[in-house]
């Protein structure tokens, strides 16, 4: 049995949080002060509550408290059919929600053996990267807001608005797209969509340059962010940190390159890697990643023009709905339609996990099927949840004023943390 009893849940600090040595603290200290930040605090990017021990301005120890947004998605998804579960996936990470749709669909598709048509795959890649750009724009806007820079916020949200308009046009929703289906997509792109995408692509590279100029060359930003909250590569891996924050520490790990899915291996793009591991590099790497995303979107648009019109769903009627027009002429098509909508499909027994790369890091669904039409167990490997462990490590010994910046640079989305 356990050697020590379970500790009470309302204790302020975790024994696993990292502490700076008190002797290292500056001379100007009177007493150690414990300060509570959040859960309702504008700089914690949602409902994150942080308890810090301060010696003067220096953080001695920091413990994040999470769970304020916990809604039990995993339990709910066990009691809905595989298709109904797509309603829940985008609501976890509401900034890069397309990645969650895609990660879930890829998992179930592997379970039922669905084949996604090439056109649907290309559209998925295009929209996934578009959603990543939108997510990084929010990261930059709100992140720089935490530095005290108000202007980039408005610029970043201007472009994000354009991206959200594109998504609204495609799927009818700005945030929770619900555009992916098991075996393909809900429907094809609207006509004229690609030409609008090209207009967006024509302006976006210049805009990215503009954002980069706004902060990367600013001496104030450099002084504030360089060398703050360094996470060395060895420790970053040990902390299971992934995504841009890991690549800013010098580890070239991108799931799109390491374990390609949806045909990412056929696109030519680079994985930006920086070696500082500090707040500066974690901010800058998102700018570089946006450039690569735009590259991928451009290739996808070109490919879609080459591919031309075609099916966007697996034609297997046991997995995806039959074509709409057929419902008027074929009774059996109506039966298939009815069975799929009321009951869903029944994958074989088994467990499956497919890693994908979201804007925040490695994202994957671990799905257990018991042969029924509802998953037996869904576990989300949420990147924000795992990455948040690094906050305590990164914050030890930094100034209190830098804490909000460190939180911003790790890019947690609380919906993704708490699920």
């Amino acid at each position: 049995m356990l050697k020590e009893p379970i500790r009470p849940d309302d204790e302020l600090h975790s024994k696993t949080s990292f502490g700076a040595d008190i002797d290292d603290a500056p001379e100007l200290k009177s007493e150690i002060m414990t300060l509570n930040v959040g859960p309702q605090h504008p700089s914690t990017h949602g409902v994150l509550r942080v308890v810090v021990d301060l010696s003067g301005e220096q953080i001695l120890r920091l413990t994040p408290h999470i769970g304020y947004l916990h809604t039990g998605f995993e339990k709910t998804m066990e009691n809905r059919t595989y298709t109904q579960d797509i309603t829940y996936t985008p609501r976890m990470d509401y900034l890069h929600s397309f990645a969650h749709d895609l990660a879930y669909a890829l998992c179930v598709e592997r379970l039922v053996g669905a084949e996604v048509p090439i056109r649907a795959q290309t559209i998925r890649v295009m929209l996934n990267e578009l959603s990543r750009v939108a997510s990084h724009l929010v990261f930059l806007g709100t992140g720089l807001l935490d530095f005290g820079a108000l202007t980039p916020f408005f610029y970043a949200f201007r472009e994000r608005e354009a991206v959200l308009d594109l998504f609204e046009w495609v799927s009818g929703q700005r945030f929770h797209h619900n555009y992916v289906r098991i075996g393909g997509l809900k429907e094809d792109l609207p006509a004229e969509f690609l030409s609008e995408m090209k207009k967006f692509l024509a302006v976006m590279p210049d805009r990215i340059d503009e954002y980069e100029k706004l902060f990367r060359e600013s001496p104030i930003f450099y002084e504030r962010a360089k060398g703050v909250a360094v996470i060395p590569a060895e420790d970053a891996i040990n902390l299971s940190l992934t995504g841009g924050s890991l690549r800013a520490s010098g580890v070239n790990y991108d799931v799109r390159k390491a374990y390609p899915y949806s045909g990412y291996e056929t696109y030519s793009f680079d994985v930006p890697v920086l070696h500082g591991g500090d707040v500066y590099d974690r901010m800058v790497i998102r700018i570089l990643e946006m450039r690569e995303s735009v590259k991928i979107i451009r290739q996808a648009v070109e490919r879609l023009e080459d591919i031309g019109p075609g099916p966007v769903r697996d034609p297997n009627p046991q997995v995806s709905l039959p074509p709409r027009a057929l419902l008027e002429t074929s009774m059996e098509a109506v039966i298939y339609h009815f069975k799929l909508v009321t009951e869903g499909f029944h994958p074989a027994l088994g467990e499956v996990y497919v890693p994908t790369e979201s804007a925040r890091g490695e994202l994957g669904y671990y799905i257990v099927s018991d042969g029924g039409s509802m998953p037996y167990r869904v576990k989300v490997r949420a990147p924000s949840f795992v990455n948040l462990q690094s906050l305590s490590y990164a914050c030890k010994g930094v100034q209190m004023a830098d804490m909000v910046v460190v939180i911003a640079s790790l890019d947690p989305v609380m919906g993704d943390v708490d699920r």
Binding site: P315, P322, A333, E343, V352, Y353, F385, Q389, D418
Partner: protein
């Protein structure tokens, strides 16, 4: 994927069960050897603990050795030193009577939150974890929500004269294990072969 081959050989030599399905690999370890073997694998280059998954096989149709199971995902981090991207799952079965597994927090710092989540959701205790507390659910919630015998708290739909639809039995038919309200469902649907082909033909031509 050289390291994965090594792991498979080790499993073969020791007689540990190996499953391979859907492109993933699972190795089942006995609970007594688990900690030492994870330590060995860490020194052999599996430096990244990607995930810890808790599972409750209470209602699973296949017979499993124990009710609970903890699945660890080990990766040799590609893009760092000699990492080759090998990725596999380690499965440890945990009996209901004594749900305790040794902790991995001393090997991987990243195991901290992941183990706390499994404890919070399934009540599986991690022996030696320095701070085993709830992490996501409220402090005053009793029970472990992701266990299969934890109710989901739906309200029955009421009709006149006390008639009601009980959500559990309404949904029972969907799982394919019980008959439910509308009779047996599930299994492969046979027949309609010509229609099946017709639908496929139309769908391939681009109908939506």
């Amino acid at each position: 994927m050289q390291r994965l081959q090594q792991v498979l050989e080790q499993a073969k030599n020791h007689g540990w069960p190996v499953e391979q399905a859907y492109g993933n690999t699972w190795v089942t370890l006995p609970r007594t050897l688990f900690k030492a073997q994870m330590e060995t694998w860490k020194t052999q280059g599996f430096n990244y603990l990607a995930d810890i998954v808790g599972l409750d096989y209470l209602e699973y149709p296949q017979k499993k050795p124990e009710r609970f199971c903890v699945v660890y995902e080990l990766v040799s981090m590609p893009g760092y030193k000699s990492g080759d991207g090998s990725r596999f799952f380690v499965r440890v079965f945990v009996p209901e009577s004594n749900p305790v597994v040794p902790t991995l927090t001393d090997l991987w710092l990243g195991a901290d939150f992941l183990e706390r989540e499994v404890y919070d959701m399934f009540g599986i205790k991690f022996e030696g974890h320095p701070d085993l507390r709830k992490i996501l659910t409220p402090e005053d919630l009793e029970g472990f929500p992701l266990r299969k015998d934890f109710p989901i708290g739906e309200t029955p739909t009421l009709f006149k004269e006390g008639r009601f639809i009980d959500p559990d039995s309404f949904r029972a038919g969907l799982t394919g294990h019980e008959s439910g309200m509308t009779g047996w469902r599930g299994g492969s649907r046979k027949g309609y072969q010509d229609v099946f082909e017709e639908i496929q033909k139309v769908a391939k031509e681009g109908g939506n």
